[in-house]
């Protein structure tokens, strides 16, 4: 193999593939990424046997071939390279020679023969979605999944395809985020799947540097996301997602519209006085929202935030992190906080769109 390509292209490609690679895997080749010439471009692949990533970068192919090299090493080397172009050439003994102006390097690699085959999905795409839309939908939901894997189902992200919509949901049993994303055309059927959180966060990172449309494929317990230059394939989580829709209340007693930034400031101020419990009291009166917190050790704080309030007076105790998680990931200027009482789920929705709902349980003392 002999190819020449710009450092920027190579760097971008390496960024995409190198994160899924583990280190210290007993099977050496799994710590490597595969470089391969593929129809006039360079294909980079990596896998941890759970997620596989392929990405293609442009370059001048002088000689076809393939080789694997340690992901961490080549990634750090290329990141550090101040030059603009680099020539990659595989030599005997599976060594990769990198030539770039004054930089002469040989990296010891392994034969491409031993590199895992990343499963192929040849079907028609199941659904197509705008990259920006999918990115926003992920941004607003994925942090709500359970970090703990005792219940594999809720450690993942739910995606329910129906007509031209995907319901994307994540919950850890104390809070729930649901976003409805629009597909570019109706999906080829209805389908409900659970994706590992890791897969979704990788997809999200790739979406950050992608544009255009994303194609989603399914085959035998696998999902494939096809971005413009990149493919991400992952297993799905087996099992059925809890029927979360039944916990979303239909009606609320109090609805208060508040400026998002102001509410965040108030919560952050209160947070300093709830260092151990994370509990802050949120009280809604006709003239606004009052956030209070107190601790024996630190002291206490009360902040009032102006809000437009409809309905009864109300108050409840929340974990401030659960509120901030949601508020920080929205971009609207104002949001609506909806409450029933101090023991029923409360909701946060952004003003101006109805495709997002965040449900959070109050804390019972």
């Amino acid at each position: 193999m002999k190819v020449e390509c710009t450092k920027e292209n190579l760097k971008k490609g390496l960024f995409v593939v190198s994160r899924v690679v583990g280190s210290g895997n007993p099977l050496q080749v799994l710590n490597n990424i595969l470089l391969k010439t593929d129809q006039g471009r360079i294909k980079l692949s990596s896998t941890n046997l759970e997620i596989g990533v392929n990405t293609w970068v442009g370059g001048k192919i002088e000689e076809d071939g393939a080789l694997t090299v340690p992901a961490k090493l080549i990634n750090e080397y290329i990141n550090n390279l101040p030059t603009e172009k680099v020539t990659l050439e595989s030599t005997e003994n599976s060594t990769l020679k990198l030539e770039s102006e004054n930089y002469h390097t040989s990296i010891k690699g392994l034969s491409h023969e031993d590199f895992p085959l990343i499963p192929q999905v040849s079907d028609e795409p199941f659904a197509k979605i705008d990259a920006q839309e999918l990115k926003n939908a992920f941004a607003e939901t994925i942090w709500a999944s359970a970090a703990n894997e005792t219940q594999p189902e809720i450690s993942g992200i739910f995606m329910g395809f129906d007509q031209d919509q995907i319901r994307i949901a994540a919950t850890d049993r104390y809070r729930l985020a649901e976003r409805i994303a629009h597909l570019l055309e109706p999906a080829r059927g209805t389908k409900e799947v659970i994706l590992p959180a890791r897969t979704v966060s990788e997809a999200y990172k790739i979406l950050n540097i992608s544009s255009g449309e994303v194609e989603i494929y399914f085959s035998e317990s696998q999902v494939l996301f096809k971005f413009d230059e990149t493919e991400l394939i992952s297993r799905l989580i087996d099992g059925s997602y809890p029927d979360y829709r039944q916990i979303i209340p239909k009606e609320f007693k109090t609805e208060s519209t508040v400026e998002r930034e102001e509410f965040i400031h108030a919560l952050k101020a209160a947070a300093l006085f709830a260092p151990d419990s994370n509990n802050v009291n949120v009280e809604i009166k006709p003239d606004g929202i009052t956030v209070t917190a107190s601790s024996m050790a630190a002291g206490e704080n009360t902040t009032k935030v102006n809000a437009k309030v409809k309905g009864d007076d109300n108050s409840a105790i929340f974990n401030f992190r659960y509120l901030l998680d949601c508020l920080n990931n929205l971009s609207e200027k104002t949001i609506v906080l909806k409450m029933i009482n101090d023991a029923s789920p409360a909701a946060i929705v952004p003003t101006g769109r109805d495709n997002y709902t965040y449900i959070v349980m109050p804390i019972k003392l």
Binding site: L49, E50, P116, I118, S221, R235
Partner: protein, 445 residues
């Protein structure tokens, strides 16, 4: 040949020709899931493994198969319910899980629950910690280490944690073992080469309850295994609860790294119950068993039996059996005569200075000769003084003869020893507890 045996035979064959890393990466969590006369279906954990076996190892698998079962010509691959972290035999565990779960959870004795546990000032902390742990297993105090003398309710509390968890989540995998059982199972797993299975059982539980952890002392292999089990569980935020008759650092011959882990979460002690608590315990027992006993009698029992709840229950049972046999209601006089053996037990019978020295030296991991000889090493002096103290208190032997016994020491030496121990007991609860434990042991046999 069962499917499993067949697959094991094939794996054994393949293992020879592959590197270890290759073998474990590609063949872990595989099995034969279907077998007909001419073909087998191999279950694989993910699509990567499927592709790889299909494209790279298919010929090798066929060849191995031919050597063992020539009639089978066809091998297919199928992805079966991929488990999240896939340790070697996840599938096996998941298949046996329902049965095993039942067995594990029945290790809990249903009579031990928080409802039947009587809280007094002596066990408040341990009770509160256990309750907190049962509410939020794995997050608040992990590990929870409960220590205290015999018959004070350590096992009760520990099992109550398990029972409470089970109430909240009937699917929780709870495993209660004595450290004796842990050791035996580990040893037999090593002997039969089933360590993997052993590990899977212990590392897949949601809460591990280990009773009498002090018996791990001196068993190095088991300690190491326990160390790894502990780490695996702790890392995954699974609760570990242990009991012992003394503080972690006072357990002799146990590795430092284990001690530091035991001390990591929360250490709660259980002391001997005070009079009110003892009375409350008796009242509950009476109610539980539907006996009719006057308060006066209960008070008498509670006043006279002071240290051990098991004895307390024993005395009550003895009394009740006597009354049922003779069809009388107990009077205070009867109680005194019935319980005379229990209350002023023939303790002194069979207990000699020699026996006390043996128990003390065993407790502190020295030899009886060490106590008798003329060495002033610190590790001998302290046990020697404790032994003198106990002999004096229990046997009321005269000071000069105690001195005589300990290699002809002067009686003033003995006085000094007893004074010193008495002083330290007042300052350090731990020592008091140690001495209680030694006493218990002396009279145990």
């Amino acid at each position: 040949m069962t499917n499993q045996q067949l697959w094991q035979a094939i794996l054994g064959n393949l293992e020879l020709s592959l590197s270890k890393a290759n073998f474990t990466t590609w063949f872990k969590s595989t099995s034969i899931i279907e077998k007909s006369d001419i073909g087998i279906v191999v279950g694989v954990p993910n699509a990567f493994t499927k592709e790889w076996l299909q494209n790279k190892y298919h010929q090798d698998i066929l060849k191995a198969l031919k050597a063992i079962a020539a009639e089978i010509k066809e091998v297919k691959y199928q992805i079966v319910s991929p488990m999240y972290v896939s340790p070697q035999t996840t599938k096996e565990v998941s298949r046996i899980a329902p049965a095993a779960k039942k067995a594990e959870n029945t290790t809990l004795n249903p009579k031990y629950s928080f409802n039947t546990f009587i809280v007094g000032s002596n066990n408040q902390l341990a009770h509160a910690a256990s309750l907190a742990v049962s509410k939020k297993p794995g997050t608040v105090y992990n590990p929870l280490f409960i220590y205290g003398g015999v018959g004070l309710g350590k096992t009760h509390l520990m099992q109550a944690v398990g029972a409470e968890m089970l109430k909240r989540d009937p699917n929780a995998k709870i495993l209660y073992v004595t450290s004796e059982k842990f050791t035996n199972e580990f040893v037999s797993a090593v002997q039969t080469g089933k360590t993997e299975h052993f590990k899977n059982i212990y590392r897949s539980v949601d809460i591990l309850l280990v009773d009498d952890i002090q018996f791990l002392a001196g068993r190095e292999g088991t300690q190491e295994e326990f160390f790894h089990t502990f780490n695996a569980l702790h890392q995954n935020n699974k609760q570990v609860v242990m009991t012992s008759d003394r503080l972690p650092k006072e357990i002799p011959a146990i590795e430092e790294r284990l001690v530091s882990r035991f001390e990591w979460g929360m250490i709660a002690d259980i002391q001997a119950p005070d009079l009110e608590t003892r009375l409350a315990i008796l009242k509950t027992k009476v109610k539980e068993k539907n006996y009719t006993v006057e308060l006066e009698i209960l008070t008498y029992i509670a006043e006279t039996i002071q240290s051990n709840i098991r004895e307390l229950e024993g005395a009550l049972n003895r009394l009740m059996v006597y009354c049922q046999l003779n069809n009388t209601r107990p009077t205070i006089e009867q109680v005194k005569s019935i319980l005379v053996n229990v209350i002023t037990p023939p303790k002194k019978r069979g207990v000699s200075a020699k026996k006390i020295i043996e128990v003390v030296s065993d407790f502190y991991n020295v030899t009886p000769e060490d106590l008798l000889k003329q060495s002033r090493k610190k590790e001998y002096v302290n046990p020697r003084q404790i032994a003198m103290y106990i002999i004096r208190k229990e046997l009321e032997t005269s000071l000069p003869s105690i001195g005589e016994f300990f290699g002809g020491r002067d009686h003033t030496t003995v006085i000094h020893a007893i004074d010193k121990i008495e002083r330290i007991i007042k300052e350090r609860v731990a020592l008091k507890q140690e001495i209680e434990l030694i006493r218990d042991r002396i009279y145990l046999n």
